[in-house]
Amino acid sequence: MAFTEPVLTKRIPLDASQRKLIGYDDYVATGGYKSLKQALEMPPADIIKTVTDSGLRGRGGAGFSAGQKWSFIPKEKKGPHYLCVNADESEPGTFKDRYLIDHDPHLLLEGIAIACLATQCDIAYIFIRGEYHYSAKVLEHALKEAYAHGIFGGDGVLGSGKKVECYVHRGAGAYICGEETGLLEALEGKRGWPRNKPPFPAIAGAFARPTVINNVETLMCVPHILERGPAWFKTMGTPSSPGPKLFGMSGHVNNPGVYEDELGITLDYAINKLAGGMKGGAYKASVCGGISMGILGTNQLDIKLDFDDVRFRGGCLGLGTAGMIVMNEHTDMVKALRNCVRFYAHESCGQCTPCREGSNWMRKILDRILDGDGKAADLQMLMELEKTMGIMPGTTICGLADGTAWATRTFINKFYDEFALRCPEAPTKTIPLKVSSGRLNVLTPMGSNTR
């Protein structure tokens, strides 16, 4: 593995004062839209194969193979296909997509055009969260340039006759619209209620037509893969998690911000080499990829940040969006968990009882513990509730509730003493964290094997 030069951020200077919006002319002058020309010469199946061979895994949270996802789209076209670009980015700790869009929007547009050629999509909707006012304007501006230069609309992509339209669709302040089927509902003008699957979006997604949903960063990798080949992509990262990755570093670090490196760097490296070290005290814990993934504990600085190590050795749900919220030794873990749980209680869409009611119970219990009225039963109830909610125990429609569960589980598992201290009669013995040695975190109906 070797990460020698920036890839996704190659046009964005490290020095913040030098950064500016890269327009169409600058983009083309630095090699932009070359991959798109190349893609026009390739049959769609070859584009999909190249992306599959690169091992690119989705950067939106789930880490699913991008090429494989594209291959699920029916080859025979019986009506329109759609691409939905997931720029909803509302997971606390995540701010990488905004960084990419605000500086290099044409890289996204090129990725979109290529993805549309590969999956025969007619329309791409960039679903951007409502709060990203500036980013939405950046995209509108970039789209105007792209339309003027024949990337979208008109006589097809660069005059090829394969017509692709691309529009910005703004969300309106709901985290749940980041979930892919919640996003589709919002696109159709309904409340962002996630759908039961199947049918999967590849068969019946937006407007009941085959639909691809990809994260911004995933699509931005695609032009680079086409240009430099899958083998080059695999020189970065680990065998199962190849490629470059943006890491969003925030919280108690000296230089918070978005940093690009390869997958598989250690947490220690991310904090001390990328983000300039700890601020205000020694390292205590870090959210490992948006709060839904849970936290890495004090003795876990050696965990590798790729799609697997954070799960198998780290005991978290996954790498998620690689947004690290780093906490120093003075952080109150009970309060930090209350903050996370309040987020889920607020953002639950309300369809499933364990998620809607469970998260609110948990918030109330944590409020009580913080107020100094914690009891042993409170801690027990928290741990019981956490096991009953999510797709994994099979009680909810979408993964938001799994986020609630994993945040709670990892906070309590890894900082049990701190919680027990606030709940006077709770047994003080630390529950040891058993870490799975198997290939997967096998989940039983009532919880996971990390306990």
Binding site: L21, G93, G130, P256, I325
Partner: protein
């Protein structure tokens, strides 16, 4: 928490001049209808458009949009009431939005909230008596690298301190439409 139902007994429906004017209809018809295979999909953009125009969404506006998109008013209200960004009751000219999620909390966002609360003499969720400011706390604004952050209407302010907050508020123009996003270096024709 969108599943909490609101008391709408005193909701006033269509009266007086239409809010969805012919020129706004033209925007929807010319710009947004061609984008989607269904009219209902224009609902979110339409709500955004009218809220931008009137600062909030009176029920009359929601009803007129529903008629224009050929859906039931209840369907439009169902969608509108789900999303936090749509205000179905009046708000102040300036919406002061303090991020309260984990990174911002670690970076002392609570101080900012309390400072604003004291300065304006309102609790989060309330509007000042002169209707100039509404203070709200909301979840992650996606700018954790520059926490704590505060968004005033559509403009994001990063690495905010209480002193900077005072300056930001003092510098607000009389009319919110005169606000400029300092990042914008090109002409924009709006959404």
């Amino acid at each position: 928490m969108p599943w909490i139902s609101e008391d709408r007994r005193h909701t006033r429906v269509a009266e007086g001049q239409p809010l969805l004017t012919e020129s706004l209809k033209a925007v929807l018809r010319d710009k947004y209808f061609p984008r989607y295979p269904s009219k209902r999909a224009v609902l979110l953009p339409a709500l955004h458009l009218l809220q931008h125009e009137y600062n909030w969404l009176p029920t009359q506006a929601v009803q007129e949009i529903a008629e224009f998109l050929e859906i039931a008013p209840a369907e439009a209200l169902d969608t509108a009431s789900f999303y936090e960004e749509y205000w179905l009751k009046p708000k102040g000219k300036y919406l002061l939005q303090v991020c309260r999620s984990l990174t911002c909390e670690l970076c002392q966002s609570e101080q900012l909230r309390d400072h604003l609360s004291q300065k304006l003499n309102v609790d989060p969720g309330e509007t000042t008596a002169d209707k100039r400011f509404t203070l709200v706390e909301l979840e992650c604004l996606g700018a954790c690298g520059t926490a704590p952050v505060v968004m005033v209407n559509e403009v994001l302010h990063e690495n905010v301190t209480t002193d900077r907050l005072d300056q930001i508020i003092a510098a607000l123009p009389e009319d919110p439409h005169d606000m400029k996003d300092p990042g914008m270096t090109w002409d924009n024709d709006g959404h």
